[in-house]
């Protein structure tokens, strides 16, 4: 809601086993950003945000 760039999906892991397997979902909630895992378990907002932006910066740098 805070950016038009963001799309956010909630997926029921058991109903989409092929996706859970692709991202190696071992525990929930598992958060994936642009196809890469950024968090396993519920992280405080600021840590989750930091992980997401670390991935974005890494991806744009390479």
């Amino acid at each position: 809601m805070e950016s038009d760039k963001v799309t956010a999906d909630m997926l029921e892991a058991m109903e989409f086993p092929h996706l859970s397997q692709r991202y190696g979902v071992m525990g929930v909630p598992k958060t994936v950003a642009n196809g890469k895992g950024v968090a396993e378990g519920a992280l405080p907002e600021e840590y989750l945000l930091a992980n997401i932006f670390a991935l974005i910066e890494k991806d744009s740098g390479s």
Binding site: M1, E2, D9, M10, V28, T31, I56, S60
Partner: protein, 141 residues
């Protein structure tokens, strides 16, 4: 068959009293519904009936291809929570158990145009220049 029991219905209705702007619940299923497709559709229908601010649309993932494309829906059951515009919020699979509350929360957020995120988070997200696709895997606990 009714999915929501009286206490869950009452609690959801209480939370939906806070709705400000109309919200559209868009559900994708298919003609021969998979088990969770049928349950998800019924659940969303029941939620939509809880407030006059809520409307409900259902599409067939196979035959309503234009709608599926419009909402970028690539698997079912899918539920899109739409406000004055599409905020990119999707629920794939049946949001039961704890996730039922998440759906209600998403509806309230979209209706109020308020994500509830910290000011610093909002500021950071506003700096995004490239698409960010988040997927959160959950289980119905």
């Amino acid at each position: 068959m009714v999915l929501l029991n009286d206490s869950v219905r009452a609690e959801a209705q209480k939370r939906l009293k806070g709705l400000v702007n109309p919200v559209k619940i868009v559900n994708f299923t298919q003609e021969i519904e998979c088990q969770f497709c049928a349950e998800t559709r019924r659940l969303m229908e029941e939620i939509a009936a809880l407030s006059g601010k809520l409307s409900f649309e259902v599409y067939d993932f196979v035959t309503d291809k234009d709608q599926a494309r419009k909402y970028h829906v690539d698997k079912i059951p899918a539920t899109v929570i739409v406000g004055d515009k599409d905020y990119g919020i999707r629920f794939y699979g049946i949001p039961s158990g704890y996730e039922f509350g998440t759906v209600i929360e998403a509806i309230v957020m979209v209706s109020k145009r308020e994500s509830g995120l910290a000011a610093a988070t909002k500021k950071k997200l506003a700096t995004l220049t490239k698409p960010l696709h988040l997927e959160v895997f959950v289980t119905p606990t």
